[in-house]
């Protein structure tokens, strides 16, 4: 088996392990929300111990107070703080460790691909998609080391599996050398940073989606208060989700700015002009402007919160289109897809 084949097989292996992780995270969400439903039913039946009191006794007063943006906020915090014996989130623990394993496997597969091709492993759509999934996973696991964001696990592993599958099925090209236009250290810098920014935008996007869902549920949306959506209680409040999403988007935006600048420098070297409104350049610009608008929206009264999250959705849609649509539909200079 050649190194290139080894890499391809290992990618499937990583996807399998991530699927296990996804199932574990999903089970965790289901279990916790089921327990919650149970607890609140029990609570309704016995009015003996008011929620707020038990919260205080567990030292959860701060969390319930700060997060208490919801009518049920206080009691929610109570359940988290008092009811959750650690061993009862065993599924989430399995999710985290399998996510690590899958991420490492994917990393090895990517490295092997680089060895097989004899260059940085992100020169075509196939490789870009794999590395993007890898970055999203690393961002998730990295943040999770410092603060518990296991509620996001199912979504990040899910989107990573989706990326990997699309890469393997639709974007695959054999590992190979580079055409002259790509033979430059700018490939490592410009494309490398672009993937990191995209991976970060991906995780931030997931947070903004959850923010919107959670917010609608808290506002009493009929659909989102049906059974089956109880897991949303596991996510932080919309305010906190917005804050988390913002912090990632801020990092992503700075990296994207760098990507665009580096792209312009490279274009100056390779194509003889720093900016020519090639479709890829147009859409990178659109992405940049939408995220800039997002940052401005956050600071403008009436546009913050929910509306800011819509900007993230639009921005991320542009990121995805810039990658897929522009590469596959338009015929520009950026035809590095290898397809």
């Amino acid at each position: 088996m050649s190194i290139a084949e080894f890499s391809t097989d290992l990618v499937w292996g990583a996807a399998t392990v991530l699927a296990v992780s996804l199932i574990a995270f999903a089970m965790d969400l289901a279990q916790v929300s089921a327990r919650r439903a149970e607890a609140s039913r029990a609570e309704e039946q016995s009015d003996a111990a008011p929620a707020a009191e038990s919260a205080d006794s567990a030292g959860a007063s701060v969390s319930s107070a700060v997060e208490g943006g919801t009518p049920s906020g206080g009691s929610t915090a109570t359940v988290t703080a008092t009811d959750e014996a650690p061993q009862r989130r065993r599924a989430a623990g399995i999710g985290v460790s399998t996510a690590w394993l899958g991420t490492i496997l994917l990393g090895v597969a990517i490295a092997a691909r680089g060895v097989a091709a004899g260059r940085a492993p992100w020169a075509n759509m196939y490789e870009f998609t794999l590395v993007g999934a890898f970055v999203a996973l690393v961002v998730f696991l990295g943040v999770n080391v410092r603060r518990d964001i296991r509620w996001l696990g199912a979504f990040v592993t899910g989107i990573a599996i989706l990326f990997i599958a699309v890469a393997q099925v639709n974007f695959f090209v054999p590992a190979d050398g580079l055409q002259p236009a790509l033979q430059s250290y700018w490939l490592v810098i410009h494309v490398g940073v672009a993937i990191i920014a995209s991976g970060i935008f991906t995780v931030a996007f997931l947070m903004s989606v959850l923010q919107l869902l959670r917010d609608s549920r808290d506002e009493g949306s009929a659909i989102l208060n049906r059974r089956g959506w109880g897991w949303l209680e596991l996510t932080p409040t919309p305010t906190r989700l917005e804050g988390l999403s913002f912090r990632l988007n801020a990092v992503g935006f700075v990296l994207w700015t760098f990507t665009v600048i580096a792209g312009a420098i490279w274009a100056e070297h390779a194509w003889g002009r720093y900016w020519g409104w090639d479709p890829k350049e147009v859409w990178s610009f659109v992405v940049w402007v939408v995220y800039a608008a997002y940052l401005h929206a956050r600071t403008t009264r009436g546009w913050s919160g929910r509306r800011a999250a819509y900007f993230v959705l639009v921005g991320y849609a542009c990121v995805i289109f810039n990658f897929t649509g522009v590469n596959l539909i338009f015929n520009g200079k950026h035809s590095y897809s290898g397809m």
Partner: protein, 583 residues
């Protein structure tokens, strides 16, 4: 959630201090957003109103979104500046909508009136918004940290403790801790204060500190750098030139307008000021892998600067060459079959290399040979057809299988008649106008197709002959001069730096109050951050822990604040988050 106060309001830089947590009715403009309802505001009032609107964040936001939307059509529709032929084809295919789109500038989006209007308005808005902020920031930089608030209870980060040291010593230590070791660039700007005794508290020592001025500095730098970027790009447009030249192996080029195939320059560039270097293409080398994917292109050239010695240089993709005041880029390459055409009188009517344009991966190249200078009385000759670098003959015809010249063949159709060159209309050298020409045919009436290998000579049906002498290569070069590049790069990097600083510098205020009570020293610390700030509570706790004589028996506030994940994000609540539910 739009109602939760976790956002500071727009441009207002002073973060609210609890007493006035909703000072701004509308955060969208540096001046309190005027919403004039009065009808009689007059022309000046009207102008002022418009200016306020234009410089408001909300309008900036709308303009930004408009800019994003306006940029999109340029990626969907063909653009004249990139592909004029595609625009022409589009106009032919869409006879009804095409002309409308053209009139509305959709084939030149990025120089269209509407696109320019959006970004110019945006920049006007930016200037109107940045100048007052720069002034305000300048004042803030020389101001003092905000005074210590009376009550700490409502601040998002707090800590309390007791110390065995005297209040004065505690306050002094706090000043040192906050200021940091360096005198020049202190972490916090700090001010010591004193408060006289009140009815329910003895006299206290206070410390007020603020950090993060760089955040606003970075933000202003970012916006000003964008402005600089726009100005440099515009300047570059005025002063630049760009030309394309095709250079066949062993041929020379002199840097003057006549030697270019195409040349354009900015309004302020004087074409006679071109530096007159000369250049010869000695050799062009290309490498392909087994399936014909390009791996390397190198042009070996000799450059002679005016008054200098000839020097040998190489030009590669990604490695442009500096010559004169221009950079020379390798943009394309191909084959230029060297042919000799004799007319029916046996005179040489044409001789020389003719660049053919590669149309696919294997360099199947299309070209036109025009032979106007035939002997008097004879008809002009035109050839149109293909060069196949590695031709294989199949029953249907010939095709190329590899980009390198393994078995080069010229496959040409022949026309005779009037090439139409004398009509004074500039012609595309790569297309043959056959309106006034007739295709040569064999005796049986089928059109003649000539197939030639290198060295072959074939007689033409109407007399004369064509010889395929040799197969030199050519390179397509772009020569470009833009004196603004350095500025453009500098401003881009300044913008990037300013952006990073403005997004990642925490803005924090920390206050400390300490007094003697019951034989011990009580210390209270409070922190407030603008923007999301995960580290605020940590900052407050570190300060407390670093004070002299801090004993156990702390109030429990500080300890459960540090361990609870939730409080670390308290900074999201920008005003002092009330400790009860947000709404």
């Amino acid at each position: 959630m739009a109602r939760t106060p976790y956002r500071p309001e727009g441009i207002d830089d002073a973060f609210s201090t609890g007493e006035s947590s909703s000072a701004r009715p509308d955060g969208s403009s540096p001046a309190p957003a005027a919403r004039p309802t009065a009808p009689a505001i007059g022309v000046r009032g009207m102008l002022r109103w418009m200016w306020r609107q234009l410089t408001s964040m909300r309008v900036a936001l709308l303009l930004l979104m408009l800019l994003a939307v306006a940029a999109v059509p340029g990626s969907v529709l063909p653009q004249t500046s990139q592909d004029a032929a595609a625009v022409a084809a589009y106009l032919v295919d869409h006879p009804t909508t095409g002309p409308w789109l053209e009139a509305a500038g959709f084939f030149d989006v990025y120089s269209s009136v509407w696109f320019s209007a959006i970004y110019l308005l945006l920049f006007v808005s930016l200037v109107g918004c940045i100048l007052p902020r720069t002034a305000a920031h300048w004042r803030a930089l020389r101001g003092r940290p905000p005074r210590t608030p009376r009550r700490f209870a409502r601040f998002p980060a707090q800590a309390t403790g007791t110390s065995s040291a005297a209040p004065e010593a505690v306050a002094d230590a706090a000043v040192l801790h906050l200021r940091g070791r360096r005198r020049v660039l202190p972490i916090f700007r700090v001010e010591r204060g004193e408060e006289p005794a009140t009815a329910n508290r003895p006299a206290t020592a206070t410390v007020a500190a603020e950090r993060g001025y760089l955040r606003e500095s970075g933000n202003l730098l970012f916006h000003l750098a964008l402005l600089g970027l726009l100005v440099s790009v515009a300047t570059g447009q005025m002063l630049h030139y760009r030309g394309q030249a095709i250079l066949v192996e062993e041929r020379g080029f002199a840097n003057s307008v006549v030697d270019y195939d195409t040349f354009e320059n900015g309004a302020l560039f004087d074409p006679t000021s071109l530096e007159a270097f000369t250049m010869t293409l000695d050799r062009f080398e290309s490498e392909f892998d087994a399936v014909g994917t390009p791996r390397d292109f190198t042009a070996y050239v000799t450059v002679t600067e005016p008054g200098g010695e000839p020097t040998s240089e190489t030009i590669k993709v990604n490695h442009p060459l500096d010559a004169g005041d221009a950079k020379i880029y390798l943009q394309g390459n191909g084959y230029a079959p060297d042919v000799t055409v004799r007319d029916a009188d046996g005179e040489v009517a044409f001789a020389g290399p003719v660049p053919f344009i590669p149309e696919d991966q294997v360099y199947t190249s299309r070209g036109v040979i025009k032979v106007p200078d035939v002997s008097p009385g004879l008809e002009q000759i035109g050839f149109v057809g293909y060069l196949l670098p590695t031709a294989v003959m199949e029953d249907g015809g010939a095709r190329s299988v590899y980009p390198q010249p393994g078995n080069p063949q010229l496959v040409l159709d022949v026309y005779t008649g009037d090439l139409g060159l004398d009509e004074g209309v500039p012609q595309n050298v790569y297309s043959l106008d056959t309106d006034d020409m007739t295709p040569s045919t064999e005796e049986d009436g089928t059109p003649t197709t000539i197939v030639l290998g290198v060295g072959d000579t074939v007689d033409l049906p109407d007399g004369g002959s064509i010889t395929f002498e040799d197969l030199p290569r050519y390179v397509a070069l772009d020569l470009r001069h833009d004196p603004a590049l350095g500025f453009i790069l500098t401003f881009s990097l300044l913008a990037l730096g300013g952006l990073a600083v403005s997004l990642f510098t925490p803005r924090r205020r920390v206050w400390l109050r300490t007094w003697a009570e019951d034989g011990r020293t009580v210390v209270e610390v409070a922190g407030l951050a603008r923007h999301d700030d995960a580290g605020l509570q940590g900052q407050v706790d570190d300060l407390l822990a670093d004070l002299p004589g801090i004993g156990a028996g702390d109030d429990d506030t500080s300890s459960d604040d540090t361990t609870s994940d939730d409080t670390t994000t308290n900074g999201e609540a920008d005003g002092p988050a009330p400790r009860k539910a947000d709404r």
